[in-house]
């Protein structure tokens, strides 16, 4: 009996200690895909690594949160946020009007162009290049896209499902080329290497990671670079709509990180170019 009382007292003491500790730092769970190098990926030990893991740690330090990252498949990442499985999403997710119907976003913490990746031996490798912004100058962007359509007739385009890339492909190439949706970017990379698809529409950052990787020697980025518009307004943290104080904390942290050059350092470290969002 004495032992039991002793144990109970110890348990209560530990619990109250833990409670006071919790009262000071808020625990925030952040979900990421873990399959989208170099933004977020799983290393050979099974641990999550990447630009967003580093940035997340930085933001949480500034916001004084106790953050924990967990991996979640892309196609369930938004419903699980709404169901409160975790509190935030940092997974290379772009701000789009459609997503804003279900989620709230912080200000963007990075951005980058999107385009096509093909095999070097493909006729598509010779597509004309260029830089187009669908938000700022939709007309010339669409003119460029129209010019590409002939080359894509009868070809097969691969995209990751439910992304701005798939929205782009469906809007402009439906009926022109066959569009195949994949669960992860890795799967369309595999099929590109296998010659099952002729091109993948993806972010240049992810394409570069594939090309630099073990099987990417035959691949290259082809054609023009696009950003904005249907391709999204920058990568930001996804939050539940009613989580206003979390949004403010993250927004402030991101502003601070942009101001003191942290984002510039981290993007150069992971992407070799500065992807700080221009206001």
């Amino acid at each position: 009996m004495k032992l039991a009382r002793y144990l109970l007292a110890a348990a209560v003491a530990t619990a109250s200690l833990a409670a006071t500790a919790d009262a000071q730092t808020r625990k925030v769970k952040i979900a990421t895909e873990g399959a989208y190098a170099p933004w977020n990926f799983t290393n050979s030990q099974g641990k999550l690594e990447g630009f967003e893991l580093d940035l997340g740690a930085e933001l949480c330090k500034r916001a004084k949160f106790d953050c924990e990252f967990l991996a979640q498949d892309w196609d369930g990442i938004i419903p699980s946020l709404t169901a409160k499985k975790y509190d935030a999403i940092m997974a290379g997710m772009n701000i789009t009007p459609k997503r804003m119907e279900t989620l709230a976003f912080t200000q963007p913490y990075a951005g980058g162009p999107h385009g096509f990746m093909t095999l070097k031996s493909s006729p598509l490798a010779k597509l004309p290049t260029g830089n187009y912004n669908l938000s700022k100058d939709l007309a010339s962007a669409e003119k460029a896209i129209d010019g590409l359509k002939d080359q894509f007739k009868g070809k097969v385009i691969g995209v990751q499902g439910s992304t701005t890339n798939s929205a782009f492909a469906e809007k402009y190439f439906k009926g022109v080329a066959e569009i195949r949706e994949y669960k992860t970017t890795e799967q369309h990379d595999l099929d590109l290497a296998a010659g099952r698809i002729d091109a993948a529409v993806m972010a240049h950052t992810a394409a570069t990671a594939t090309i630099d990787g073990p099987n990417g020697k035959e691949m290259m980025i082809a054609g023009p670079a696009f950003r904005g518009g249907i391709l999204g307004l920058g990568v930001a943290v996804g939050l539940r709509k009613d989580d206003a104080d979390l949004k403010k904390a993250f927004d402030d942290a991101i502003t601070a990180a942009i101001a003191d050059g942290t984002i510039k350092t981290l993007t150069i470290k992971w992407f070799k170019i500065d992807l700080t969002p221009q206001s």
């Binding site: 050979s44 030990q45 099974g46 991996a71 979640q72 498949d73 196609d75 369930g76 419903p79 699980s80 169901a83 409160k84 499985k85 890795e186 595999l190 073990p214 099987n215």
Partner: protein, 261 residues
């Protein structure tokens, strides 16, 4: 084969340089998922069979609807329902019952519930069939002796139904074992915190997926899919063969003392 490709034995090493340990642990998780699903199915199936034979019109209708729908719809669709909608459904039910917060449904629960519900629909038919196959005289005689309720089920009905049901349940176990592969599609994974004593790590922290998912991850990582999927198939074959042997023995034991086995 591309140059620099590792040989099969290099890929399948135990420890940090090879994938054999991951594949073996993943097989363990698959077995746990299948077992949990099967046992849940036994519960659901038993309830559905009882409802079907209860004599209550409404209960019978509900039971028939359950078995018809869950046997007529693809398993993958049911898994999607629970995986993507599980939290929403459970929270909605919770809200109706007066609980205002969220109720999360972890991946393992969603997967095994889905498998359990589907296999339960099939198991209810097997249980019902075995119940009907049981000689009715047995129950009459037991009641004549004054047995009723739980004793009746435990002493007479239970063992008899089990005896007739073993072959059918054996088939359903094989189905469940193979159905467990489907959870690979929704990325069911279990986080294992490892075993530590103080600062000494006995088993390191890791995430387990099921066998097919593990093969898929290894295939993507090494760019050599064929060896891993073949190994995955071989492990599944081992599991099904072992199960067949076990169920044959169970059948023989269940039918001991019966005429004309």
């Amino acid at each position: 084969m591309p140059t620099g490709a590792k040989s099969y034995f290099e890929l399948m090493q135990w420890g940090p340089n090879g994938w054999l340990d991951e594949m073996v642990f993943a097989t363990g998780l698959t077995l746990i998922v299948a077992l949990t699903g099967f046992l849940l199915g036994l519960v659901f199936g038993g309830i559905a069979a009882a409802g079907r034979m209860s004599g209550h019109r409404l209960l019978e209708r509900v039971s028939i609807t359950y078995t018809t729908i869950l046997r007529g719809v693809p398993d993958l669709l049911v898994i999607y329902l629970f995986y993507f909608g599980g939290s929403a459904i459970v929270t909605a039910i919770g809200n109706k019952l007066g609980y205002d917060g969220f109720i999360g449904v972890p991946g393992f629960v969603a997967g095994t519930l889905a498998i359990g519900l589907v296999s339960g629909a099939y198991q209810s038919e097997v249980i019902r069939g075995s119940f009907l196959a049981m000689p009715s005289g047995e129950i009459e005689a037991a009641r004549a002796f004054g047995m009723s309720g739980l004793t009746l089920v435990r002493r007479i009905v239970g063992p008899q139904v089990l005896r007739y049901a073993v072959p059918g349940l054996g088939n359903i176990w094989q189905l469940v074992l193979k159905e467990a592969a489907l959870v690979a599609v929704v990325g069911l994974a279990v986080h294992w915190a490892g075993i530590k004593i103080g600062d000494v790590v006995l088993i390191h922290e890791t995430r387990f997926s099921d066998l097919l998912r593990q093969a898929h991850v290894a295939a993507g990582s090494t760019r050599q899919p064929f060896p891993f999927y073949i190994t995955c198939a071989a492990f599944y074959l081992a599991l099904t063969t072992l199960s067949t042997w076990l169920f044959r023995r169970a059948e023989a034991w269940a039918r001991r003392g019966m005429r004309g086995s």
